[in-house]
Amino acid sequence: MPYLELKSVSKGYGSNGSRTEVLRDVNLSIEQGEFVAIVGYSGAGKTTLMSILAGLIRPDTGSVTLEGREMSGPGPDRGLVFQNYSLLPWLTVAENVRLAVDQVFPEKTEAGRAAHATEFIEMVNLAPARDKRPHELSGGMRQRVSVARTLAMNPKVLLLDEPLSALDALTRANLQDEIARIRAQQKQTVVLITNDPDEAILLADRVVPLTAGPNATLGESFIVDLPHPRDRKALNHSPRFRELRRDISEYLLRSRQDRHATVTRKLILPDIDPEDLSVPRNMLGRTRPLRSSEAREATVEVSS
């Protein structure tokens, strides 16, 4: 039985008039201890998918199960690292982490919780910044606080929503190694969302592409059968790595092109007549541009 499972999940936003279907018929099953990376275009619905996994939003159809039980709402057993950090700006680094620790380990003593928080702040190398507030930190540091806060909850499933995409290449490489290390140590189940196929292959056991939206869905899985720990430099020369990268990129590109080929749109011109700018605007009853369906009779002066 899979550990975490999505079955024919779909989700759209908005009501009848201006509705966009974001996800359609998404199926995913993840084994315990597996590291799955989901790659997809910006705006395809990756955050939406993550929010469903975290239980923050309910899918319109389909089911989400964790350990065989239907998921009801969010909880600290699924630690989510938000795409936009989501640190509380009025709390210091330590306090942000403590909020999570205090909530998840109420049985520990005060000193025990403090030590626990410190351990994870040190893990992400933020000990010198522990009393700073988020607005005093760089983007990468905020991201690390967010990671520390989530890891400190000791979640069964770690959900990472593009945790590194806002960072520069160097910090990014550092944090990738950090994630690989933490994961080798703690062996949680991890779902990583990213827009970078290289990152996905470097870290994950399995890469699942999310096709371009709207109506995005998960494509076939690519098993990354490269041994751990993976070395970034050596990887670049590995033929298997290059093959995977090519396949994934091609799959994503194709998902977009297919869309171009198959979607037929009925073009409806806006039902509105251009406003005649030479007519002075009436201050009281502002004349709005006429809809062509409203125009009963039009007098047109023709000068020759």
């Binding site: 969010p74 699924r78 630690g79 938000f82 989501s86 509380l88 009025w90 909530q103 998840v104 507030r133």
Partner: protein, 261 residues
């Protein structure tokens, strides 16, 4: 350095000089009853230079009067905040609550303190000697409450979904979500409301004291008008203005401390 002094010191002084000049001219030409700046100073000297002296119930140093007024304002203002903040939270949190009470609030909000005061006095008629104080407090509270109510409501509605998501993922209890996330996130808006409320409370006090004849800057002003001592009216006006300005500055300082990035 020189430019700095010019901007912040010389220019305001020029402004004061212009106003004094216009005052002087007015009192010499069209407003004969208006005391000149010099006469005003001569008549007010005692009150300003011995600001804490008490010569009689309605004849005290100007800061002593101010102090009485401030105490009354503080009480009324405290009531306004204690009632206004929770109402603001309810408005921000519940659509049903908003739909139920928003029309009433919009109708009560523009009512002048002068209209509330008689009602306040009637309400507390049974309180005997305390009636005028309770009536004044009622008026201050009900007039000063609205900016706090409305700003808190706006602040609650503006809490970023991200913060609420953090609370959800951590499974914070309702109480903890309120105290650890929602109240801190609303603080900046709340303090803007508090500052505006304080301004109004100070406006109302004068009206309240004038009508109830309580000792204080407003009561003094009204008494001296009736006693035809017009110099003291001006003294009171200046005092009210300066105190209001200082209060606003102080609240701005507090407010800026709560502006989280």
């Amino acid at each position: 350095m020189k430019a700095f002094k010019f901007d912040w010191f010389i220019l305001p002084l020029i402004g004061i000089a212009v106003v004094l000049l216009m005052w002087q001219i007015s009192s010499k030409t069209w407003a004969k009853e208006l005391p000149t700046p010099h006469k005003t100073w001569e008549a007010s000297k005692d009150y300003v230079l011995k600001p804490f002296e008490k010569r009689g119930e309605m004849d005290q140093g100007i800061l002593r009067f101010t102090w009485y007024s401030l105490i009354l304002v503080a009480k009324g203002y405290a009531i306004a905040l204690i009632i206004g903040t929770p109402i603001g939270f309810c408005l921000g949190l519940s659509k049903a609550f908003t739909k139920t009470f928003d029309p009433i609030i919009q109708v009560l909000r523009p009512v002048s303190p002068l209209a509330w005061l008689p009602l306040g006095l009637v309400l507390f008629l049974g309180a005997g000697k305390q009636a005028s104080e309770l009536g004044a407090l009622f008026t201050i509270a009900i007039c000063a409450m609205w900016p706090t109510v409305l700003n808190t409501a706006v602040g609650v509605r503006a809490i970023p979904q991200d913060y609420l998501n953090v609370a959800k993922v951590l499974k914070l209890s309702r109480w903890k979500t309120l105290t650890k996330v929602m109240i801190p996130a609303t603080m900046p808006y709340m303090f803007t409301g508090f500052r505006l409320s304080l301004g109004i409370a100070w406006l109302v006090i004068v009206a309240a004291e004038m009508l109830t004849g309580r000792p204080g800057v407003g009561g003094f002003l009204w008494q001296e008008y009736n006693a035809l001592l017009y110099e003291h009216i001006i003294l009171c006006i200046i005092t009210i203005g300066v105190v209001g300005f200082v209060l606003d500055r102080l609240m701005s300082l507090v407010e800026s401390r709560f502006k989280t990035a």
